[in-house]
């Protein structure tokens, strides 16, 4: 096979990140140099992956890359391999984009911190770790990357270690994160003992025909391991603590990148290595975990009174959508799940950056203390609203486009399979969306609208670099929402196609015909991924109509002197005071934790139960991890 230059791009895109990390250790004391190195590394990494879009996404090539050209010998793939199919590249692109924007944001966001050199080193290690994970072609290297990213993430969580709770959050993350990593390692070892190989392609060819107790237990271990990386229930409390303490630019990575690596791991595991997703029992576990994450985390978010913790819970709730959609094992389900994963990276990144902007300018993210910031930070408010509308699934932003596909695919699956359970999943998904909206209305009212407290009279807008980073995400949010067909055609469908054509993945690595020769008749047949969308939604036409209607309204309004408003000239003019029923106007802000008590009152039993359950003690969370592992193992042993 002729090696083209682009065959080397995957390793380059990983290498530049690690190289950048090491260079920053050496030259990190020089401020302009360290920014230049970091920016260069992340830009190069993104550039290499974008260059791969044409061969991998459009031409459907799968890049199999043996490090040091150590191709398999004697039937065993021993060398270190990278294998990049459309699924890997899809996640790689997401990661590179989020890392790039976060790096742009960091330059001004971290300017008041000490030891910024160390920050960038860890930042690039984390980015390189995740990138290596999704591009890796063998299980053991995946584990190595999991270790690198977990430790970098733990260290970055505690980076502002003088902040309250930072060390505690990092410790919790360390404990449960290590349990997850250990699960992955144990699972890897058990698979190695069974199959004598760690290469994904070879494992994928071997395992489906040799399922036994050991491989099933290994599956359960790996599944739980990747679940801890995705923070799905019951590992969600860690995410809340970690996001609450970490710098905002790191929250973007933890929520937009780290959770994605967990989802990627679960997809690789269940669709490729074990090829079990055609089983209803396997679909059940993914959809069940997804729905539970979706609902539990959105209700947890409603009870939060800290901006970043609230975002953290929403992050897991959205991951629940992704997991549910992926678990459906239909072409449309996988495609919509990946679409939502992408959108989640974009809008959640935007929201975390907005939270970081608020934290930097006011020094707090407590919803009970803030208010009225839109007066002082109009840009941040506008960008935040874009993110908030996106995550709440308000048309025409991207969250709606993907959620709407998710609803369709779940309900369609229900109709197809005749299983009424999926109808309830649809209902949970639809209701979760409006609960998401509710909690972002709460944030809008408590942080950006409402009354401005006296102590924030002198707050200013964030510097342009941070606004630029937020605007990048916001623009992407709008574009991916307006052109869903472009996204599905060029990004998610090729990735879904890769998911459903495992034989191609195996053969690209080990030579054509390998899958058929090892697996015999059981080899998965190639299938074209097609689906028909049941619903109708044309965002561009809708937007056009809205603009025409809005223009008509505005013209009439302006002709009618709508804009000739009367504003307070003298500061003490009582005409412009707020209405207080004749009493003297005082400062009063409605916001904070309890804004929707009308809802919470009816669910008080549930909320009290949840409150008691989330004790904040790491022992409990570790116990949850063990229980989850035991239950999943038991379930798998029973159903296989």
């Amino acid at each position: 096979m002729m090696t083209s230059l682009y065959q080397h791009f995957p390793i380059f895109s990983i290498m530049v990140l690690f190289l950048g990390a090491f260079l920053i250790v050496l030259f990190g004391n020089v401020k302009p140099l360290r920014h230049a190195i970091a920016l260069l590394a992340v830009t190069a990494s993104l550039g290499f992956l974008i260059a791969l879009v044409k061969p991998v996404m459009l031409n459907g090539e799968i890049i199999a890359y043996w490090m040091g050209a150590r191709a398999p010998a004697g039937g065993y793939a021993i060398g270190i391999a990278l294998e990049v199919d459309a699924l890997s590249l899809f996640f790689g692109l997401l990661i590179a984009t989020a890392v790039f924007v976060s790096c742009v944001y960091s330059i001004q966001y971290m300017r008041f911190d000490d030891n910024v050199g160390q920050y960038y080193t860890l930042f690039l290690m984390l980015a390189g770790g995740v990138m290596g994970l999704v591009l890796s072609g063998d299980l053991f290297n995946m584990f190595i990357m999991v270790e690198i990213l977990t430790f970098a993430a733990v260290a970055l969580t505690a980076f502002r270690n003088t902040a309250k709770g930072a060390l505690e959050a990092a410790f919790k993350y360390l404990v449960v994160g290590c349990m997850g990593s250990t699960c992955i390692l144990t699972g890897t070892i058990m698979l190695y003992a069974q199959a004598h190989t760690l290469n994904f392609a070879q494992l994928s060819a071997f395992i489906p025909g040799h399922m036994n107790t050991a491989t099933v237990v290994a599956f359960a271990l790996l599944y739980i391991g990747f679940s801890t990386k995705a923070f799905i229930v019951p590992f969600h409390p860690l995410a809340a603590d970690a996001h609450g303490a970490a710098p905002a630019s790191i929250s973007v990575l933890i929520s937009g990148v780290l959770t994605k690596s967990g989802i990627y791991g679960i997809i690789r595991l269940s669709y490729f290595l074990f090829q079990t997703m055609n089983l209803g029992t396997m679909q059940f576990i993914l959809v069940f975990m997804g729905s539970v994450s979706m609902f539990v985390c959105v209700t947890m978010a409603l009870a939060q009174h800290d901006f970043k913790r609230l975002l953290a819970f929403h992050s897991i709730s959205q991951i629940g959508y992704v997991l549910t959609a992926v678990g459906l094992c239909t072409a449309m389900g996988v495609s919509s799940g990946l679409y939502h994963a992408m959108n989640h990276t974009l809008f959640k990144g935007l929201l975390f950056l907005a939270a970081g902007a608020v934290l930097q300018q006011t020094g707090t993210t407590d919803l009970g203390k803030l208010g009225g910031l839109s007066k002082k930070m109009p840009w941040t408010t506008a960008l935040f609203l874009v993110g908030a509308f996106s995550i709440s699934g308000i048309p025409p932003f991207n969250g709606f486009a993907s959620k709407w596909m998710v609803y369709q695919s779940i309900y369609y699956k229900a109709v197809e399979s005749g299983n009424i359970g999926f109808v309830f999943v649809t209902i949970i998904a639809l209701v979760t969306s409006v609960l998401t909206l509710a909690s972002f209305v709460k944030v809008s009212q408590s942080v950006f609208f409402g009354r401005l407290p006296k102590e924030y009279e002198n707050v200013t807008e964030v510097p342009w670099g941070m606004r630029l980073a937020m605007s990048l995400f916001a623009i992407l949010c709008v574009l991916t929402g307006l052109f869903p067909n472009v996204v599905t055609t060029y990004l998610t469908q090729p990735a879904a196609n890769a998911v459903f054509n495992v034989a191609n993945y195996i053969n690209a690595m080990l030579g054509s015909g390998y899958a058929e020769s090892v697996m015999g008749a059981a080899a998965p047949a190639a299938q074209a991924v097609t689906y028909v969308e049941v619903g109708l939604w044309q965002p561009v036409s809708w937007l056009l109509l809205l603009i025409i209607a809005l223009l008509a309204v505005t013209i009439v309004a302006i002709a009618g002197k709508y804009d000739s408003v009367s504003e307070s000239a003298a500061p003490a003019d009582s005409k412009y005071d707020l209405f207080f029923g004749g009493e003297e106007s005082v400062y009063s802000q409605v916001g904070g934790e309890d804004l929707f008590w009308g809802f919470k009152h009816n669910w008080r039993g549930y909320f009290n139960f949840m409150h008691e359950l989330h004790s904040g003690i790491v022992n409990d969370y570790a116990l949850w991890a063990v229980v989850a592992l035991a239950l999943v193992t038991l379930y798998m042993l029973i159903v296989f």
Partner: protein, 342 residues
């Protein structure tokens, strides 16, 4: 030439029917009829039926005061406009029997989310005023939205399933197939399994339009109209207009989902009268519009005016409980029945 013609046609849809002019007239008229009837039921004389029009034009001549505490002047002033525009655009997608201004652009699930935009505009506008009354109103408005969402979701899913399994598609969310099915097989409300869903939808209408007894979010007597507390002049007028149009939107949505079978009758009536071609199209659209409006009046009387006259305002947690138990329960019955092909 034809491009200009079709552009003019679409502009006509947006500006005249079923867009702005129709929404304006029909919405405010519905509001006037509602107010008059409630007064009659309570043995008052009541305002003239055209009172909402007088109110609207009067408000447009008044001064717009922006409170000094308002956190965002832009949001405060833009919110009414965006809310009105999005509501009118939404109205364009709802079929008037066999006539739809813009078909194939949005299905019923999308409508569910487009309905959130006017409510959200209202909420953000109120939030931007800085008033604590608006803060309380916002909280209650949002809880009312959450409350109505579940029964509405269940109603839409059961309609989608009922029509889908009857037509053999398995599932449909598109308005045009729902209307086509009803034109062929009679209105959905005649289907026994859909009656609970229709009742649930009737219950949702007063909640979505914020009328008694589900008007905790506005509650003039306790929180001074909540979100609108600080609004005055034209912006207030536009919010009042949007509120009136929302009555039209919700009732015509009910007509489209459950009473859509009448359209065929109208067309055959027009054919009987010996009209054909463009004239027949025009006359039948006109007739359909009139029938739609009359049905909307009936629905408004049934589920807004009558309920308004005989009930007192519920507390917000009672509203929530009502919708998530009674209304959702009814809609769930329909969904399960539709699921098993009844």
């Amino acid at each position: 030439m034809s491009i200009v013609m079709s552009a003019l046609q679409y502009l006509g849809y947006i500006l005249i029917f079923p867009g702005f002019l129709f929404c304006f007239l029909a919405g405010l008229l519905l509001c006037g009829i509602d107010r008059k009837l409630v007064a009659k039921m309570q043995k008052r004389v009541g305002p003239p039926i055209l009172q909402p029009f007088y109110d609207f034009f009067k408000l447009c001549g008044k001064e717009t005061i922006i409170p000094a505490a308002a956190s965002s002047k832009t949001v405060f002033l833009m919110a009414p406009l965006v809310g009105l525009a999005s509501l009118v655009v939404l109205q364009l997608f709802i079929p008037v029997f066999n006539f739809t201004a813009f078909s194939g652009m949005a299905d019923i699930i999308v409508i569910l989310y487009l309905l959130l935009i006017p409510a959200l505009a209202n909420i953000l506008g109120g939030a931007a005023s800085g008033s604590p009354y608006a803060g309380v109103g916002l909280s209650r408005e949002m809880v009312t939205i959450i409350a109505c969402e579940l029964p509405l979701v269940l109603v839409l899913l059961s309609v989608g399933k009922a029509v889908g399994s009857a037509t053999g598609e398995g599932l449909t969310f598109s308005f045009s197939s729902i209307m086509a099915y009803q034109a062929a097989h009679g209105s959905l409300i005649l289907k026994a399994s859909m009656i609970p869903a229709a009742v649930a939808m009737l219950m949702v209408i007063p909640g979505e339009t914020g009328s008694h007894p589900f008007d905790a979010a506005e509650a003039e007597t306790e929180i001074c109209e909540g979100l609108l507390a600080e609004y005055s002049g034209p912006p207030l007028g536009i919010f009042k207009l949007s509120h009136a149009i929302k009555m039209l939107t919700m009732t015509s949505l009910f007509v489209a989902l459950f009473l859509g079978g009448i359209g065929g009758g109208i067309e055959s009536l027009v054919a009987l009268a010996g009209l054909s071609g463009a004239a027949a199209g025009g006359v039948s659209v006109l007739l359909e519009a009139i029938v739609l409006f009359l049905l909307c009046v009936v629905l408004t009387v049934v589920c807004i005016s009558f309920v308004h006259a005989v009930t007192a305002r519920l507390k917000i947690e009672q509203i929530f409980k009502f919708y998530w138990t009674v209304a959702s329960g009814l809609a769930l019955i329909s969904l399960v029945l539709a699921w098993y092909g009844l």
